[in-house]
């Protein structure tokens, strides 16, 4: 019958798709009565005519037959020894269950706890456990509340600073008479810089020097590579890239090659962070001073596409 595996799958699908299996389903009691031929003849015919068309009822019919049919040829018998062993296991299990000790008792003639005293002991234990749990919960909530308050205060201060900076910027652009587009560009650059400062404020201080590779800085063929001067205090450096169309690719591949075009580092399947940027970090000791080229590829499905190239000059201040 296993040769019909594919046919069985398709027949089930055809059955489900094309056959309505109409008529009322049989309840368990009705099915048992049907199997045991305890149904009146007209009801039996109605049940049969539904049964041969309804997969659900057919399964129930099989289950009922499996349960109620007597021994079939070739089936192993269940001996008295196994039944006695089964009973011993079950009664031990029930005794071990505290809720039924009062009914069975521990051993013959042993003291049997009254149900009331068991119930009382259980209630006391429950009450103690609940109180301890509530106390712990309360203490945790209090701590969380204090931490949240502190974070909110910090955010509010940063927000005030950001607003006053934006105001300053507006005033200064009015004075210099820049066009709207230029003003917007400057504002967004400043806002981005301030955002990263704000983000840095909320991050634990770990001596990371961050550099943003703006579109157009040190592109291939340009005379001016991006200059990265890592201060002495920075133990690592982070390169931040913001692709123009963040929604275009599912993830990115980044390659770093030296001036001999040897691959120094590569990472694949890097997603953008919620801000739409890619941050690549290196420990200070990982790179030596010199010229590098960073290549960015977008990855979608099974294809990759180059998105940008950035020429970098790395120097470590002493």
């Amino acid at each position: 019958m296993d040769r019909n595996r594919e046919l069985r799958i398709y027949m089930k699908a055809a059955y489900a798709k094309f056959d309505d299996g109409s008529g009322r389903h049989l309840s368990e009691d009705e099915m048992i009565a049907f199997c045991q031929e305890r149904m009146a003849a007209p009801e039996r015919e109605t049940a049969r005519s539904h049964l041969v068309r309804c997969g659900e009822c057919l399964q129930l019919f099989k289950d009922a037959r499996d349960f109620f049919d007597p021994d079939r040829e070739g089936e192993p018998a269940v001996g008295d020894v196994e039944i006695r062993r089964g009973w011993k296991e079950l009664s031990n299990h029930i005794r071990a269950d505290e809720a039924t000790v009062a009914l069975f008792g521990r051993r013959k003639g042993a003291f049997v706890y009254s149900r009331a005293s068991l119930a009382l002991a259980a209630s006391v234990l429950l009450a103690i456990g609940l109180s301890a749990f509530l106390a712990l919960l309360w203490s945790q909530e209090r701590q969380e509340r204090l931490q949240t308050q502190k974070a909110v205060e910090q955010l509010q201060t940063s927000r005030q600073e950001l607003l006053s900076r934006i105001k300053e910027l507006e005033q200064s652009t009015k004075q210099t008479g820049l066009s709207n587009d230029e003003r917007l560009k400057l504002e967004s650059e400043k806002a981005r810089a301030l955002e990263s400062q704000l983000a840095a404020l909320n991050q634990p201080q770990t001596n990371i020097a961050e550099y943003e590779l703006l579109q157009g800085s040190g592109p291939r063929g340009s005379a001016a590579p991006y200059e990265i001067k890592v201060p002495p205090s920075a133990r690592s450096l982070a390169l931040k890239i913001m692709p123009d169309k963040p929604e275009e690719f599912a993830s990115y591949i980044v390659e770093l090659v030296d001036r001999q075009n040897r691959k120094v580092w590569k990472s694949e399947r890097l997603p953008l962070d919620p801000g739409g940027s890619l941050i690549i970090g290196f420990p200070r000791a990982f790179l030596s001073e010199g010229k590098y080229r960073l290549r960015l590829f977008g990855w979608k499905g099974n294809t990759t596409q180059m998105v940008g190239e950035y020429d970098l000059t790395l120097a470590f201040s002493r």
Binding site: L7, M11, Y15, K17, V52, D63, E82, I83, G86, F104
Partner: protein, 206 residues
């Protein structure tokens, strides 16, 4: 192990009234152990699993007997419990299969091929393409048409045999026909279906 003194209903009544619980429940256990064990054996479980599932059934009976209203026979209720335990066990096993450990798509897999290439490159796209869908639809349609060509009784016998894996005897009892008639129907159905469906499904066995 037979205790003709009390009927099952009498045992249940006394258990519900907490009279001589252990002895009454033991009698009930001995009376129905074989039936329940046999049920799980017929569902294809190993002897060890049959014992465990039978225990689980009786434990449920013990915990729920006070709520049993005796409106239908005790055996019907027992069947319901055993069936639920069977279905729960099937679900549990299916869930265990679904939670199988994940394999990285990037790892090299040399288990069944000479190619040294990442798994991801060799795992088929789960979304079938348009051609696969068309072929699938056509096969389904051809199958449905071939089945509809069969006389109704022959078709029902075929469905019971292939989809529900019924034996000749079970089909005969359900359809209220003789076993020889069932065999004749299936023999003819095999001929007709093979003629129409061999290019799609290969050799058919009934």
């Amino acid at each position: 192990m037979d205790h003709p003194d009390k009927t099952t209903e009498e045992l249940i009544r006394e258990i519900k009234r907490e009279l001589n619980m252990e002895e009454n429940f033991r009698q009930l256990f001995e009376r129905h152990y074989t039936q329940i064990h046999r049920f799980f054996h017929r569902k294809g479980f190993s002897p060890e699993d049959c014992r465990e599932l039978t225990q689980e059934t009786f434990l449920s009976v013990y915990k729920g007997v006070k709520g049993f209203r005796q409106e239908s026979p005790f055996e019907n209720w027992l069947f319901s419990i055993a069936e639920n335990i069977w279905r729960s066990e099937l679900e549990r096993r299916k869930a265990r299969k679904r939670d199988a450990p994940l394999i990285s798509l990037d790892q090299q897999d040399t288990s069944d091929t000479d190619e040294f290439s990442p798994l991801a490159a060799r795992i088929a796209d789960p979304a079938p393409d348009q051609l696969d869908r068309t072929i699938e639809k056509e096969k389904l349609q051809k199958l449905h048409e071939a089945l509809q060509q069969l006389p109704e009784q022959m078709r029902r016998c075929t469905e019971l045999r292939i989809i529900h894996d019924f034996s000749y005897k079970e089909i005969a009892e359900l359809m209220k026909i003789s076993i020889n008639t069932v065999k004749a129907h299936l023999h003819q159905a095999k001929k007709d279906l093979s003629e129409r469906l061999k290019p799609f499904f290969g050799e058919i066995e009934l």
